[in-house]
Amino acid sequence: MKDLSQQRRIPALFYCLMLMLLLFMTVVGAATVGAARLPLASVWQVIVDLFWGSTDAVETLDSVGAAARMIVLEVRLPRIFTALLVGAALGVAGAVFQGLLLNPLADPFTIGVSAGAAFGATIAILLPTFLVLPVFLSGVAIVPWFAFVGALLSLALVYFIANNRGRVMPESMILAGVIVASFLSALISFCKTIAGEKLVSVVFWIMGGFSGALWSQVLLLLPYCVICMLILQAHAGDLNIMAMGDTTALQLGVEVHKIRRRLLLVAALMTAVAVSVSGVIGFVGLVVPHINRILLGPDHRRLLPASGLLGGLVLVAADTLARTVAGATEIPVGVVTALLGAPFFCVIFKKKFHQ
C-alpha cells in the first residue's frame, strides 16, 4: 500500500456522523423516487408513521395515501434496507480482507466466495428445467438459499486448500481463492451453455440486484450482519497490530493464527450472505475501504464502522440509480457501481496516491 505522506486525517467521529446524516437523507430520497410518482409529503408520512408508529392514522388515509403507503412500505423500503445491509457488509468485509491479506487488491470476493454463490444460484435457477422440484420447495425463494450453500461450500474448499496445520497464510488463501473461483466460473459457463431460455435469469442474477426484496429478508440479514460486524470490530485492534507483520504481532501478544482464522471465516460468512441475497456486486468492497483509508488513516477501529456506513450509503444510492435512470428497465446494480465507481476511484487515486 503506497504511503500517504503527511496526510491530514479527518476526525473519525465527525466523519461517521456526516455519513449517518447522508445515509438518512439518501434513504429518504430513495424512498421518494421510483417508477410510481409519489408526493414527498405522503412518503414522509409513511416514514414518520413507521418510526413513530401512529397506526390510527392509517384508517384515515385516502386512496392515494394508501397506495403510497403500500409502495413505500412493501416495495421500496425493504429493497432500500437490503441494499443498505449488503453494502455495509461488503464495505466492512472488504476492509477486513484488505487488512488481513495485506493486499490493496483484496476485496470480499478475493477468496472465491462469490463464485460459489453464483454457482449455487445458477443451479437453483436451472434446477426446475431438469427436475421436478419437491412440493415443499415450490413457492420458496430457493435461489438465495442455494447461493448461500454454494458460498459456504466454496469457502470450505478454499479453507481446506489453504490450511496448513491450523495456519492460514494470506498468499495461500488468495491462491486457493483464485483456483476455486476459476474452476467454479468454468462450471457456471458450462451451465450457461445448457441454460436455454434461463440464460437471461442466470446472467442477471450474477450481475446483482435487489428487485423483489422482502422485509423477511431484511429481518434475516440484520442480526446476522450485526453479529458478524461486532466480532470483526472487536478484533480491529488486532488487525492493526497484524498489519505490522506476523512476527511483530506474535511478539506483541496477538495469537496471529487463531485470530486470522476467525476473522477470515467471519468476514467470508458475512460476504456469503450478502452475495446470496444480491448477486455479485463488485467494487463496493474494494473502493469503499480505500476511500476511508485515505480520509481516516489506517486504524481499523475507525475504518470498519466508516466502511460499513459508506458501503451502505453507496449501495443504496447505486440501487436507486439502477431502478430509476432507465425508466421502466432496471440496470443491474453491479453495473452501476462499476460504471460510477471506477472513474471516481481513478480521480482519487491520481490525486492522492501520486502526490
Binding site: Q6, D238, I241, G245, Q251, L252, I259, P298, D299
Partner: protein, 267 residues
C-alpha cells in the same frame, strides 16, 4: 567463574536448548542464564543462528528440544499474551507498510496488558505510552507517520514500543545494524539505562564487536551451533578467543578512559 551475579535471582534459564527449523538444527544444546540488571550480548559470524535464538526465546519459533524457564516457570506454559507482558523484542529492521502514526505504533506495545476476551486493545493517551515516548526522546515525533521517519528514528520508535510493553526481558536483534554510529550509541545507551535503572534483563545480538564491548556486561560467543565461550566482557574479549571465533587475526587494546576493551582487525 564466581561472579557476583551468580547469586542473583535468575530471570531466564535455557537447559539443553536446541533451536532450528523442522529437521534442521541451527543451535544445539545451549545452556545459559540471563539475570535482571545485566546487559548480555550475543556475538558470532553471520548465519550462526543468533536471530534464531532471539526468535526461539520469544517463541516465534518453537524450540526443537530442551527447556526454557522464565522466572521459574516453563516458558511453554505462558500464554502468548503473558509472554508479551514479560518479553519484548526490538527487531532488526521492520518494513511497516501502513502509515500509522508514531504514537499509534508505540501504543501497540500496551496491547498485551489490555487485550481481553473482546479482542486487542490499546489506548493512545495511556500514560505509559507518553513515558516511553519521552524516555526515547521522540515525543516530538508522536504525530508523524512512521513511514516518513529515518531509519534511526524508526528504530527509536520500535524501542519505545518495546519499553511500553514494560518487559522484564528485552531482546534486541541487531538493533543498530543499519544505523550511523550516533544513533547506534543512542539506542544502546537507552537500553543500558533501562538495564541499570529498571533492572531489565537485556539480550542483544550484536553485529559490531566494538559496540558489543562498549555496552554488554556479559557476552555469549556463538559458533558452529553452540555457545563456544561465555563470560564477562573483559574475560572473553581476548585475541585468542576472537581469532578462533572469526578466523581473523585481531588486536585487543584498552583505550584510556573507557575501561572497556576494543578490537581492531589486523589485515
Amino acid at each position: 567463574m564466581a561472579s557476583s551475579h551468580e547469586n542473583w535471582d535468575v530471570l531466564f534459564e535455557a537447559n539443553n536448548l536446541s533451536c532450528g527449523y523442522g529437521t534442521q538444527v541451527v543451535l544445539n544444546k545451549l545452556n545459559f542464564k540471563l539475570w535482571p540488571g545485566f546487559f548480555c550480548g550475543v556475538l558470532g559470524p553471520n548465519g550462526c543462528g543468533k536471530s534464531t535464538l532471539i526468535n526461539t526465546i520469544c517463541r516465534v519459533n518453537e524450540p526443537l528440544s530442551g527447556s526454557m524457564k522464565f522466572a521459574g516457570r516453563e516458558l511453554s506454559m505462558l500464554s502468548r499474551q503473558e509472554l508479551a507482558t514479560n518479553i519484548a523484542v526490538v527487531p532488526q529492521e521492520t518494513h511497516i507498510a501502513f502509515p500509522f502514526k508514531v504514537r499509534e505504533v508505540v501504543a501497540m506495545g500496551r496491547n498485551p496488558h489490555l487485550t481481553s476476551f473482546f479482542g486487542a486493545g490499546y489506548d493512545l493517551k495511556n500514560e505509559k505510552v507518553n513515558r516511553a515516548l519521552a524516555a526515547t526522546g521522540i515525543a516530538h515525533l508522536s504525530e508523524r507517520d512512521i513511514t516518513h521517519l529515518s531509519g534511526g528514528e524508526r528504530q527509536l520508535v520500535l524501542l519505545a514500543r518495546a519499553l511500553a510493553q514494560e518487559p522484564k526481558l528485552l531482546l534486541l536483534d541487531e538493533p543498530t545494524s543499519n544505523l550511523d554510529i550516533s544513533h547506534a550509541v543512542k539506542i544502546l545507551s537507552l537500553v543500558s539505562a533501562g538495564v541499570a535503572q529498571e533492572k531489565l534483563a537485556a539480550l542483544a545480538v550484536f553485529h559490531d564487536l566494538n559496540l558489543a564491548c562498549l555496552f554488554a556486561d556479559y557476552l555469549f560467543l556463538v559458533k558452529d551451533g553452540t555457545i563456544r565461550y561465555q563470560g564477562e566482557t573483559r574475560e572473553v574479549i581476548t585475541e585468542k578467543i576472537l581469532t578462533d571465533l572469526y578466523e581473523l587475526p585481531v588486536k585487543v587494546y584498552s583505550p584510556p578512559g573507557i575501561g572497556r576493551p576494543q578490537v581492531s582487525v589486523l589485515v
